[in-house]
Amino acid sequence: MEVGQLQARLIDLTSSLYSEGFLDEQFTQLQQLQDESNPDFVFEVASLFFDDSEKLLNNLGMALDEQVIDFKKVDANVHQLKGSSSSVGAQRVRNACIAFRNLCEEKDREGCLACLQQVKHEFSLVKSKLESLLDLEQQILAAGGLIPMME
């Protein structure tokens, strides 16, 4: 595929991610931080986010599996997930975390379990989409093109 096409695809994908709320302005800032001195910055941050979040989600799963749920611990994990997702701009994940925290406060076990599923779902969605996006960018760069930036 030639550069132009790749770039077009990238633009489409990026627009949809923003319009569907998967990504927010924070992600744009991340992209703007990427420069010659750190050309893989977005990729690094995204990777870190994915790894860290998976850990957190596992912890959450385990915590909610307990007989007696330690909601404080659950809340702490959700809080952290909320922080990291907001730092990368994963908006829907973040929103899901906010809802999750409310449920934790109410100590709603069922609600928490359901919400955890929701968070996991959102996370996997944004993860795959981001991976596609980053992959496209690599392809464009490899083809000698420039990555179109979102306004």
Partner: protein, 651 residues
């Protein structure tokens, strides 16, 4: 943004980089690696120097190891072990660095809490580039506030260093001679003292205008509690919340404690730095009364971080007094001055030996003293005899427990004694000779009036006391001083500790020394510095100072010290001096003071003429010779025991 360079330097923290805000050294603490990476990148893009850390404990150790290497700390709130607020407090208190907080928690209440805890700013995640760019503004603000504090402190220290009005004041005989504000301003004009490296502008106005917010007045007792609380907790773990719990004073807020603690730590740190560097601090902070560079007379942080409180020092020393207007609504000024008044005993019980907090900032004169210290015009209202002078003379005074009071207490008056070993630090006897004006009702029967009279007479001894300290007494040379054991080489508790400057008072107490909590029986002081980690006082060798009476060849200190033998002491027994007696012109009891004074006088000046009253100053206490030869003191104003008046012409 621009190069603020040295202008934003603050003596308390390391100066900002000269390329500020670029090159700002920031330590970021967050247990979230994603966020940490993002923020780090943002900061680096802003050309800050970034160090990241994912655990608060690590952050603290980094900060401690590399003091002065960071300008600001950016920390997350929710972290394992130590949360951001605690880190904030510790950093603020130990290192006095600006702290910016961040959190995914967007609750206003949390943000409010952060600011109240002393954070410079509170960022809500996600952190945007714009916010990061402007972090430097918060740093500047903090530095500005620090500078203000520094100036405040410096100005107080200046005031403390004020020598007698005779030295510098243009208006010798005017009531404003003692006005510390004017004094400070005048002194400042005459010689610029960048006491702690901060350029001090017109101190006079500045001091008075530094009324930023209503302050808690840290009186002696309060500070004492504070210090004890810290001692209890351990300086490392001393956080305002715990201190507040221990102190348990209604109305005292955590913020009050936090700011007091911060200043206290700064003070201690300065002292430690001084110790380590082996230099003497500028007079501002050094008590010349026994401050040895290695052995300050103050609480210090030893390497283990334990707060060591020196034994209260009770030299015959200086009466640190600063005239200041008690009515002055600037409590900090008040306090600083007062803190130099070691004897200031918040309660009239002289049982409280640790009279002043010494820390310096917030000590307020006890209200019961205030009226005494009023001497008419408000500007000269509180005349607390000021201490010292550059000639090393020393007046009477008690050195407060905490050193800082001493530092400005006796700025330039150092007893010449050089202590071969660790000198004993004496407890501040609340009812000491120095307690002129101290209304120590209980055990100290020398009322203010009595004291005033004494003081006034002592004034006459100040011929070679260039401090024109009202006491006028000068500490003798080292040998003498040593002999007098006013300040003793640090031994295993000379039992005479208690005596120190309590000349008259001891006597007048009829041998009853108010019990000192930290004293062993019979006034033996538990002076083993090692035990308590207390720093003994080492008195610097200085110019000649003498204490006439106590250097009398026939002076038998042991005899004197043993209060049971007081009657053998030539000075005799003062007995109880009633205020009315003095005011009314004396009674038989005043004879005792008389004889004491005469003794002192004679030993100082030989059988010179009687103390001549100073005729000019209406503020002076006047001694008149009555028909029967007894001297009575009359004054045409409410006697101010601290009032030095102009009798003291010593220079």
């Amino acid at each position: 943004m621009g190069n603020n360079g040295g202008e934003v330097s603050c003596s308390y923290s390391s100066p900002l980089p000269s390329t500020f805000p670029y090159g700002l050294r920031i330590l970021v603490v967050d247990d979230d690696p994603t966020c940490l990476m993002v923020v780090e990148k943002m900061l680096k893009t802003c050309r800050y120097e970034v160090t990241t850390c994912d655990h608060p404990a690590t952050a603290l150790s980094i900060l401690r190891e590399r003091r002065g290497c960071y300008d600001v700390v950016l920390t997350d709130v929710y972290m394992p072990d130590i949360n951001g607020f605690e880190l904030l407090e510790i950093v603020g208190l130990e290192m006095d660095l600006p702290v910016v907080m961040m959190s995914a928690n967007c609750d206003v209440s949390v943000a409010m809490s952060g600011i109240k805890h002393g954070a410079c700013y509170y960022l809500m995640k996600p952190i945007s580039m714009g916010e990061v760019k402007n972090i430097w503004q918060h740093i500047i603000r903090k530095h500005k506030e620090d500078m203000k504090d520094a100036e405040e402190m410096a100005s107080f220290n200046q005031i403390m260093q004020m020598t007698s009005p005779n030295e510098e004041s243009e208006n010798k005989n005017s009531p404003t001679a003692w006005d510390p504000v004017n004094q400070a301003a005048s002194k400042q004009r005459k010689k610029k003292k960048g006491a702690i490296g901060v350029r001090i502008e017109d101190k006079g106005k500045k001091v008075q205008s530094l009324e930023r917010k209503p302050r808690v007045l840290w009186n002696a007792k309060l500070h004492q509690k504070f210090v004890k609380a810290i001692d209890q907790i351990g300086i490392d773990r001393a956080v305002p919340k715990k201190i507040l719990e221990i102190i348990d004073v209604p109305g005292l807020t955590r913020e009050n404690i936090a700011s007091h603690l911060q200043k206290y730590r700064l003070f201690l740190r300065r002292l430690n730095e001084e110790n380590q560097s082996g230099r003497l601090l500028p007079p501002t902070f050094k008590s010349k009364l026994g401050i040895h560079p290695e052995q300050p007379m103050v609480s210090t942080l030893d390497p283990a971080g334990t707060l060591n409180f020196p034994e209260p020092f009770n030299p015959i020393g200086v009466q640190p007094t600063a005239a200041f207007d008690m009515q002055n609504s600037n409590p900090s000024m008040l306090m600083t001055s007062v803190s130099r008044l070691p004897f200031i005993n918040q309660d009239s019980q002289s049982n409280d030996p640790f009279a002043t907090s010494g820390f310096g900032q917030y000590l307020n004169l006890p209200t019961n003293i205030q009226p005494i210290l009023q001497s008419g015009s408000s500007s000269s209202a509180t005349r607390v005899p000021l201490l010292q002078q550059n000639n090393g003379s020393m007046g009477f005074g008690m050195v407060p427990q905490q050193m800082e009071a001493c530092s400005s207490l006796i700025v330039d008056t150092m007893p010449t004694t050089h202590w071969p070993t660790k000198p004993i630090q004496r407890t501040l006897e609340s009812a000491s000779l120095v307690n002129f004006g101290m209304q120590n009702a209980q055990n100290n029967n020398l009322t203010n009036m009595g004291n005033a009279e004494l003081m006034n007479r002592f004034k006459q001894f100040s011929i070679s006391n260039s401090t024109s300290n009202y006491t006028g007494l000068q500490v003798s040379k080292s040998a003498d001083f040593y002999r007098m054991t006013q300040i003793e080489p640090f031994g295993e508790g000379s039992s005479n500790m208690n005596y120190s400057s309590n000349l008259v008072n001891d006597i007048s107490n009829q041998g009853k020394i108010p019990p000192e909590p930290e004293m062993n029986n019979k006034g033996k002081r538990p002076l083993d510095a090692k035990d308590k980690g207390k720093m003994p006082i080492v008195v610097e060798e200085e110019e000649d100072v003498f204490l006439p009476e106590l250097t009398a060849p026939d002076f038998n200190l042991d005899l004197y010290m043993n209060l049971d033998n007081l009657s053998q002491y030539p000075m005799g027994h003062l007995g109880v001096i009633q205020e009315e007696d003095v005011l009314m012109g004396g009674s038989s009891s005043s004879h005792d003071i008389d004889s004491l004074l005469q003794q002192l006088h004679r030993s100082t000046f030989g059988n010179s003429s009687d103390i001549q009253p100073d005729g000019n100053g209406t503020n002076d206490m006047v001694f008149k010779q009555a028909q029967d030869g007894t001297k009575h003191m009359e004054s045409n104003f409410e006697v101010n025991p601290f009032h030095m008046g102009d009798n003291d012409k010593a220079e």
